[in-house]
């Protein structure tokens, strides 16, 4: 015979389990609904505009003086250029910081570094964008001999800054997770500390480090405000890092405000959102596989 107290505990346990289950399922349902919504809202667009014209067209001009065009290629290329540039800058710095953080920094230095990384990740993107617009863009312009620095390079630098905290903290964690015995064995065999780090520790932590790159990439792809402020947003197809770019996120942010509800342009923005979703979904899928591989 169960006591009253025990019964109460059992009932509470059941309720708690339902609550947790509900929250978990809720997230999946929300994600599913978002995807469904994006898909449903983009469909009418493709009745008006040829899919090939959308994905490979080079002129995005939905408010044209005469004929509207919906070529998303410059936007997709812009997003890719900004992200690749950001990763080219963030990866070496991020991995260097992560190694220093987990292998060298001790005591106070480590505390200050940890604090700095946390603060860096919490700076609002509009603040980073403003600093970029007023300080970094003119500087980059001078450095590269152009009259202004509102281009892909400036955007990449700022995106790198925003992706760094993710890369540093996840990489540092996975480097720290490498068993001490591996390091000791390497050192005992006569390897130097550099050799141990580059040949043993980093390869052992590889999947975690790769996952951090992918998550950082996801962060860079989805960032809106900063790139909107410093890249000039001209819709011409970019050919180098010194060209102004207009990312998918910036385009949606700029145009969704004034678009007529239910128009081709309106659905076109949803189609852009869907493209963006597929890009970041792909990146996250790769990241997920890498993290899982680490566990095995």
């Amino acid at each position: 015979m169960q006591s009253k107290e025990t019964k109460k505990v059992i009932v509470f346990d059941k309720i708690a389990a339902y609550i947790f289950k509900f929250s978990g399922i809720l997230i999946i349902v929300i994600l599913g609904l978002i995807v469904l919504f994006l898909f449903k809202e983009s469909l009418p667009f493709f009745k008006e505009v040829n899919f090939f014209d959308f994905i490979a067209g080079t002129a995005w001009n939905p408010n044209a003086f005469e004929f509207d065009t919906y070529g998303a290629l410059p936007l997709i290329v812009s997003t890719i250029i900004a992200t690749v540039g950001a990763m080219a800058i963030a990866i070496p710095i991020g991995i260097g910081t992560a190694v220093f953080f987990s292998e060298y920094a001790k005591g106070r230095t480590s505390e200050i570094l940890k604090f700095s990384v946390e603060i860096l990740s919490s700076i609002p993107s509009v603040v980073i964008g403003f600093v970029g617009l007023v300080l970094i863009a003119p500087f980059i312009g001078k450095l590269t001999g152009q009259t202004n620095g509102l281009n892909a390079l400036t955007g990449s630098i700022l995106l790198a800054l925003m992706a760094l905290p993710t890369i540093i903290s996840i990489s540092a964690d996975s480097i720290r997770d490498v068993p001490k015995s591996l390091r000791e064995a390497s050192l005992a065999m006569g390897a130097s500390k550099w050799e141990t780090i580059s040949k043993i520790v980093i390869p052992a932590a590889k999947s975690g480090i790769m996952a951090s790159f992918m998550l950082g990439t996801g962060r860079a792809i989805g960032e809106t405000m900063t790139v909107l402020m410093v890249t000039g947003n001209s819709p011409a197809l970019p050919t180098s890092f010194f060209d102004s770019i207009r990312t998918i996120t910036a385009t949606i942010a700029i145009e969704l405000g004034e678009v007529a509800f239910g128009s081709t342009h309106f659905h076109g923005l949803f189609a852009l959102g869907f493209v963006l979703f597929i890009l970041s979904f792909g990146v996250n899928l790769i990241a997920d596989r890498m993290i899982n591989r680490r566990k095995i």
Partner: protein
């Protein structure tokens, strides 16, 4: 548990009565260009009359749509209502009435280091179409032109395109996020050119703010005029100026009419001037004959 419940009940009663208790004021929405101006009008008006004026932005399209669909008392717009919008309003049984509040001039700005002082409207169009690529082609230094414009959701973007460009903007034009960023961009760029609402670059005493250089524009009259030249703007000689509009329902309530008349009174027109636009002053009556019948 009981405590939390009773707290919730008290809270919800509080919220409900708040919503019910507020007095019905005047609803205004629309153009972001007019937002600050009309908010200022509202703040002065509530002190005068005790009637609240709730102003929100969203763009000229939102303001006009508000009147067409009869869900606002006043719709702000920095462009004129279109024929198809009037037609739609009439289908909904509404006759829109146009009120002219003031005049906004758009200033053409370049970097202070640029030696150029004036441009014709044709040159401006060629520059923004991307046909003229270097300042030396229009009498300036040998520096590549770098174009600054507003984003597609801006009324100024549309106005400049319709009245000066009459074509597509160059796809090399940088689309800046608001007036402040265009100002910063041109200030830092020796080849830069931009356009912005006069209120943003002119002080109340008619002098220009430092950081950018305001160009004179040569229009049909063949004379180069600055946007700070009040008589040239009011006569339309300065080529890039526009009226600031409000749209109301012809059968508006007396409360709404009183507010609109206040806006056109000397007191209201002083606010127009204070917020960086040109007031209509004594011409307010002749420009808005319907209201003063």
């Amino acid at each position: 548990m009981k405590k939390i419940l009773s707290l919730l009940v008290i809270l919800s009663i509080g919220l409900f009565s708040c919503g019910k208790g507020s007095q019905k004021g005047i609803e205004v929405k629309g153009s972001d260009t007019l937002l600050e101006l009309v908010q200022e009008m509202g703040e002065v008006y509530i002190k005068k009359s005790g009637i609240a004026v709730n102003v929100s932005g969203g763009g000229s399209g939102v303001g006009v749509a508000g009147i067409v669909n009869n869900n606002t008392d006043i719709g702000d717009a920095s462009r004129q209502i279109k024929d198809k919008e009037i037609k739609k309003a009439k289908e909904n049984g509404i006759e829109p009435l146009e009120v002219k509040l003031g005049i906004d001039a758009i200033a053409i700005v370049v970097n202070p280091s640029n030696t150029i002082n004036q441009l014709t409207t044709d040159q401006l169009a060629a520059i923004y179409k991307g046909e003229v690529k270097n300042w030396k082609e229009v009498g300036g230094p040998d520096v590549e032109i770098s174009l600054y414009g507003r984003q597609e959701n801006s009324g100024t973007y549309a106005f400049f395109q319709e009245h000066i460009l009459k074509a597509n903007y160059s796809d090399k034009m940088k689309r800046m996020n608001g007036n402040a960023q265009m100002f910063e961009g041109v200030k830092a760029d020796i080849g830069g050119i931009g356009y912005q609402g006069l209120g943003y670059v002119m002080n109340e005493d008619g002098s220009f703010k430092p950081g950018v250089k305001v160009l004179a524009v040569v229009g049909k009259s063949g004379r180069a005029v600055l946007p700070s030249d009040k008589s040239a703007v009011l006569s339309g000689e300065y080529a890039i100026s526009r009226f600031l509009y409000q749209y109301v329902n012809k059968n508006m309530t007396q409360t709404v009419k009183d507010f609109v008349l206040f806006e056109l009174s000397p007191e209201g027109q002083a606010i127009v001037k204070k917020t960086g636009f040109y007031p209509l002053d004594e011409r307010a009556k002749e420009l808005n004959p319907e209201l003063f019948k």
